[in-house]
């Protein structure tokens, strides 16, 4: 982290990102409302807002969950990851709008506190089935939505780096893994709610397809990571590990190797090879998938910088990642798995090629 916080540190990428996001949301809402009015001209404004916000939020949730594995599978998706927290906050605002309109539409102006009604109303609605038997009209789907909304709120409220620092990165990341619980709750909310009154099988099929696509992407990303870890190298008698031919490291880029469960990034910069940890101090991003820009390793997730020779962020930033000793022999890079003390300056090893 730097010496001070700002509410939002705007730059060109963030403006472009948010402009695209806002345009996409407006387009999605307008399309849904337009199509709904064509199909059901009698729909009320409340119903349209309720459904448009819920469908847009559901689609956005799938996008949010897809970005992580997509970025791990293909670097071209990395720009989507850059400002994912704004997607999350927008998702929460859409879900909140849906929740507020749902409470007003279905739970206000009754003889019960609207918030109490959200959790207990299912006990008051009945329907008659074919044989004349009276049964509950629907399952209690509202609590699932309320619980998901609470998780989205906590995630949106703690999206600023202040929370990352003061809750600790591990706790913060664990807290934000709650998005998977929220995803399950949202699907239960939709399945026990809206799907009960829809006769078409298209909607459950779409819901399941969305889940299958997300599960497939995460599985593919996990397999890719497992392959990297399975190819882990063993240390030689001198403690150095063969990291492969130097030629496979492009200038300004890194290759990532796995040694005893830890991932190291070997960088090629101005004719020398450097080795650092592959874990960004910010959110644990894979720095080895980034580039060296203006002499600094740049994490592909949020652009955090580290100097390749000592792992230190340039002033006024204070973050440091570990460096490792490297040597080059017969065209192959060798790296020592044991990290140097934080901030240790390493000269790197000459590649033998032009700087």
């Amino acid at each position: 982290m730097s010496a001070s916080y700002r509410a939002i540190d705007w730059n060109r990428q963030k403006r472009l990102y948010d402009l695209t996001l806002t345009s996409g949301i407006v387009l999605a809402l307008a399309t849904f409302i337009g199509v709904s009015l064509m199909v059901s001209p009698g729909s009320t404004a409340e119903t349209l807002i309720l459904r448009a916000t819920s469908v847009t939020a559901l689609v956005l949730l799938h996008v949010v969950l897809a970005i992580g594995p997509l970025a791990r599978l293909d670097a071209r998706f990395l720009p989507l990851l850059y400002n994912r927290r704004h997607l999350g906050v927008t998702l929460f605002l859409l879900a909140l709008a849906h929740g507020v309109f749902a409470v007003v539409q279905f739970h206000a102006l009754g003889d019960e506190n609207p918030l109490v009604s959200v959790f207990t109303a299912y006990r008051r609605d009945y329907r008659v089935v074919a044989d004349g038997q009276v049964v509950l009209a629907h399952l209690p789907f509202e609590p699932f939505g309320a619980a998901a909304l609470a998780i989205f709120f906590v995630m949106a409220a703690t999206s600023h780096d202040f929370w990352l620092r003061n809750l600790g990165a591990s706790f913060w990341k664990a807290l934000h893994l709650g998005v998977y619980a929220a995803y399950g709750l949202v699907l239960a909310h939709v399945a026990f709610g809206a799907l009960q009154s829809e006769r078409s099988l298209v909607y459950p099929a779409l819901l399941f397809t969305g889940f299958a696509v997300l599960a497939g992407l995460h599985l593919a990303a996990a397999r890719k990571a497992a392959c990297l870890d399975a190819a882990g190298n063993e240390a030689g008698p001198d403690g150095f590990v063969d990291a492969g031919p130097v030629d496979r490291i492009a200038e300004g880029r890194a290759v990532v190797i796995s040694v005893a469960g830890a991932r190291l990034a070997l960088w090629r910069h101005q004719g020398r090879v450097f080795a650092t940890s592959d874990v960004c101090r910010h959110q644990g991003g894979p720095v080895g998938e980034g580039r060296i820009i203006d002499g600094c390793i740049t994490c592909p997730w949020h652009g955090w910088n580290y100097r390749p020779e000592d792992g230190c962020s340039p002033p006024p930033f204070k973050e440091v990642i570990e460096t490792h000793d490297v040597r080059v022999a017969e065209g192959r890079a060798w790296v020592r798995p044991a990290a140097n003390p934080l901030g240790t300056r390493c000269a790197g090893a000459g590649t033998g090629g032009p700087p």
Binding site: Q105, L109, G110, H138, F162, R165, S170, L187, F208, G284
Partner: protein, 152 residues
């Protein structure tokens, strides 16, 4: 059931009220005590972190209290994440979803009414608001007790 929900909502309201009071105090003293980087920050920053302070004030209160005695809470501020552990939790979450979500969808499809036009409801019972578009007319029904009647 209704009483349990009411008690839960009262506890939530108390948590929010205490969090709002804590947020005022935290902005005046606590933030700078636990994180020097919050000094010289503006109203925009304070506004952005306030909802989180109100929600998670017990964690911040503990952190503030520990910081006053030179101890830490939830680890060192700059401690790095542990990717292998996170990957393991991540994998566990997807395994759980892979089992639960098909079950939820199957249960929802199984529960779905096959014949919603079974006939009119007996007097005193309210229909689903999804069928009527609003709960308003049903919840003010004078014959509907607060916890709702039960079908025989």
């Amino acid at each position: 059931m209704v009483e349990i929900v009411r008690i839960g909502l009262c506890l939530l309201a108390a948590h929010i009220a205490a969090g709002a009071a804590f947020a005022v105090l935290f902005h005046r003293r606590g933030a700078a005590a636990i994180d020097p980087a919050t000094q010289r920050t503006g109203w925009g920053f304070r506004l952005v972190i306030t909802p989180g302070i109100i929600a998670l004030w017990p964690l911040l209160a503990l952190r503030w209290q520990r910081a006053a005695s030179g101890r830490t809470f939830l680890g060192e501020p700059d401690a790095p994440v542990a990717p292998p552990r996170l990957r393991a939790v991540h994998g566990l979450a997807w395994k759980a979803l892979a089992v639960l979500i098909p079950l939820v969808l199957a249960a929802a499809l199984g529960w779905r009414p096959r014949d919603p036009e079974g006939g009119p409801l007996p007097a005193g019972l309210s229909a689903s608001p999804w069928a009527t578009g609003s709960r308003r007319a049903e919840t003010v029904h004078p014959t509907t007790p607060k916890d709702g009647p039960r079908p025989d």
